[in-house]
Amino acid sequence: MSSKKVRGNPGLRRGVGSKTTDLDEIMEDPPAGDWLTLRSDQLLEWIDNAVYNVAETTGMREVVNRVTRPIFNYGQRFSPHPLHFGIMCCAIEMGQASAPDHDIDRLGLVYRSSPRQCDVLIVNGPVCEKLRPKLKTLYEQMPEPKWVIAMGECAISGGPYWDSYSVVAGADTFIPVDVYIPGCPVRPEALMHGFLTLQKKIREKEPGMFLRR
């Protein structure tokens, strides 16, 4: 017990140095006022910290990770559900990728119409100033873990509209982007390659385990 490492956000945990019992300290609720302003990433962080501390003290973390990591990573890799959201002409290519010629469903992609059920946000077109807060809202409504694909020149840098009065110069100016797919418009093969690249990234970078750390 002397090597116990307690992690966590000081803002969400109380009594780090106090002499309470271990279980009380580990499973403590966040302060009552924080529930009102708790965002989804903060809630996840709190859950992570609680689960991590329990697993670390009991030594179950290595065991659980060893067992669940391949399964969860496999599930995340082969079912990236993108949001069915189209902005401009790359959305036509996105639809073409689902057609029988290219049949992107075999990669496990099922388009969902609600951001609550999605893992991947495809930004497929120029984002204008009026769309930017809505797209940011869509991104924040998606549950963790989530990824963003910038599809086409417009989403990467603004494309031919980079010096327009209302087009944002790239989607990565306001949301984090994982995969960039160049092209104008992007071919369906390139979109498939982008999703394969995303699978590669999930396999290498994401823990994909029951315990997120």
């Binding site: 100033e129 009026k130 980079w162 010096d163 009065y165 209302s166 110069a169």
Partner: protein
């Protein structure tokens, strides 16, 4: 009614000048700004142009030009030997200092958003419009970007 008769009756109205034919069934008119509402009311009630297709604003520095397109769908006018629907194209010239004109969104409901778009991008003020807000650009945008003298300096700093 022959198309020539229609053009003569239209050009006899108050404030109309330079009547001409663009194509066989399209009449082009220049209208004075001050009598535009009176002309448009007569156009809808007496001549049966029940559809406002388009309102466009052009910046011919220094003055602005508004182009209205109207279609008469139900009323057939004889063009040559055929009865067909006719279109009318009305040009209104506005001074740059006072780009205001009376709204026609109470005559044609479809003119509402056309006028909002012209206000948004070109800064034409339609007097009497029920809801003159920006329609394409976000609220709080400064200036009217399709004017020729609009200067956008933000990207010059960034790039």
């Amino acid at each position: 009614m022959e198309i020539k008769e229609l053009m003569q009756e239209l050009s006899a109205l108050k404030g109309v000048s330079n009547a001409s034919m663009i194509r066989d069934n399209v009449v082009k008119l220049d209208i004075d700004k001050n009598s535009s509402k009176e002309f448009f009311t007569k156009l809808r009630d007496d001549f049966g142009f029940e559809h406002c297709s388009l309102i466009t604003a052009i910046d011919n520095q220094p003055e602005f030009e508004l182009v209205y397109h109207f279609t008469s769908v139900n009323k057939s006018v004889t063009v040559g030997s055929t009865d067909m629907s006719v279109m009318m194209e009305a040009h209104v010239f506005l001074e740059r200092d006072t780009p205001t004109i009376e709204s026609i969104s109470d005559l044609w409901g479809g003119a509402n958003w056309h006028e909002r778009e012209a206000f948004d991008l070109m800064g034409i003020y339609f007097v009497g419009h029920p809801d003159l807000r920006r329609v394409l650009l976000p609220e709080g945008f400064a200036g009217h970007p399709l004017r020729k003298d609009y200067v956008y300096e933000i990207h010059e700093e960034e790039w």
